[in-house]
């Protein structure tokens, strides 16, 4: 008996191959676009589907210079107040080239339920827009706390470039199912936050 061999055209309408439901390990889930937004809240797509989620921040432009920050929800976005313990340090250098810094920022770490800084003093200059990413691990787990690791970069109104490194955990064994990003004051004038799941 001859083997029947399929070609690309023969499977173009197939959406799964048995247990294979997609290709690649980084899956785009959603894009949130700011437009003079008081915050960007992501209330869907964060569940047990993936063990790791990555948020990419692109050209986060502040309406007025402010810290870019995050908070987590364990009730689908009704409240963003999950207790967190974090560390924060940053490297800074100005365009004038006469000032540098590498320092732990104990005014920007947190043990509490408030929003946590991801990036310091994002400028509102017309060509400014912070960028970066945040990994959130196993948010649906009901046994362990929820770790996150973030790196962002942005420059200030006074032309300092800050690279911000922060990590910590949401100290809850409830599932985290929503994440909110905002500026410490003013709006997110524009920018996008893309959410990905990692297989």
């Amino acid at each position: 008996m001859s083997i029947v061999k399929l070609n690309n055209n023969g499977v173009k309408n197939a959406t799964t191959f048995g247990s294979i439901t997609g290709l690649g390990n980084l899956k785009f889930i959603s894009r949130s676009t700011a437009s003079s937004s008081s915050n960007l809240s992501i209330t869907s797509g964060i569940d047990s589907t993936y063990k790791e989620y990555i948020f990419f921040f692109n050209n986060i432009h502040a309406s007025t210079q402010a810290h870019f920050q995050v908070n987590f929800s364990a009730d689908g976005g009704s409240n963003y107040n999950v207790t967190k313990t974090t560390t924060f340090f940053f490297a800074s250098h100005n365009e004038a080239g006469d000032s540098t810094s590498l320092s732990y920022q104990d005014s920007h770490d947190i043990t509490g339920t408030g929003a946590h800084s991801l990036g310091l003093s994002f400028s509102s200059d017309s060509d400014a827009g912070g960028a970066g990413y945040m990994h959130l691990f196993d948010p649906s787990n009901t046994t362990f706390v929820k770790h996150f690791i973030a790196v962002t970069g942005g420059f200030t109104d006074s032309d300092y470039y800050n690279t911000n490194y922060t990590a910590g955990y949401a100290n809850t064994t409830s599932a985290v199912n929503a994440v909110q990003f905002s500026m410490a004051s003013g709006n997110i004038d524009s920018g996008t936050i893309d959410l990905y799941g990692v297989n």
């Binding site: 309408n13 785009f28 960028a131 690279t163």
Partner: protein
């Protein structure tokens, strides 16, 4: 009617499945250095995509070994004119951690000797990289929205390598470099090189991260 079931051999000729969702991270191009003066990724050249197709690009440089006869800096620059000139103005911050193979005194500090303040020259990704047969530099870089004509172009790198001091002693060194190409023109080219001599060997990968 009996159900026809296909096996792996039946689908061995399949190279594309239009109906299946693809991954969000797309390998655009891999370039292998072999005594190369430099390695460039230029939009529209040699199948390279470095434009608005993707909002974020990831570059990996793996086991880049210098052809230079001694320790040498590994560096990169950006182009806003499809590779004709690599001279985009940059402001960056750099900090590093290192420890010697024979010197357990670790150092962790900001490193002003490697940052740029509105400089157009090459940004050093790894300083005094060793040229021993088993030495070299490995790292990765994210570039955000290089095609934007509104915003500056942020990049973030983490590089790991063996560095040599003046006496040839080996150090494990990790450099954290971030900054921005201070231009509102689209960035459409990126170039890697050693400050002197060729890239004897190394693998360079360019990925695009989709937003759909």
């Amino acid at each position: 009617m009996a159900l026809v079931k296909y096996n792996n051999n039946s689908i061995s000729s399949i190279t594309a499945t239009a109906g299946m969702p693809a991954g969000a991270m797309t390998l655009i191009k891999t370039v292998t250095a072999s005594s190369s003066a430099n390695i460039s990724f230029v939009n529209g050249t040699s199948s390279v995509v470095l434009d608005s197709t993707y909002p974020i690009y990831l570059l990996e440089y793996i086991n880049c070994h210098p052809g230079h006869s001694g320790r040498v800096d590994f560096q990169f620059n950006l182009s806003a004119d499809t590779g004709s000139n690599y001279n985009v103005t940059k402001t960056t911050s750099v900090f590093h951690a290192y420890i010697g193979e024979g010197d357990p005194s670790a150092v962790f500090t900001y490193y002003a000797g490697q940052d740029l303040a509105q400089g157009t020259g090459y940004q050093v990704l790894g300083e005094v990289v060793g040229n021993g047969a088993d030495e070299g530099i490995t790292g990765y870089m994210y570039i955000f929205n290089p095609s934007s004509t509104t915003y500056v172009k942020h990049f973030m790198c983490h590089n790991q390598y063996i560095a040599l001091d003046g006496g040839g002693n080996a150090y494990n060194k990790s450099d954290y470099i971030a900054g921005y190409g201070n231009t509102t023109s689209a960035v459409d080219g990126i170039n890697f090189q050693f400050a002197s001599g060729d890239i004897d060997a190394g693998t360079f990968k360019l990925y695009g991260i989709k937003d759909s």
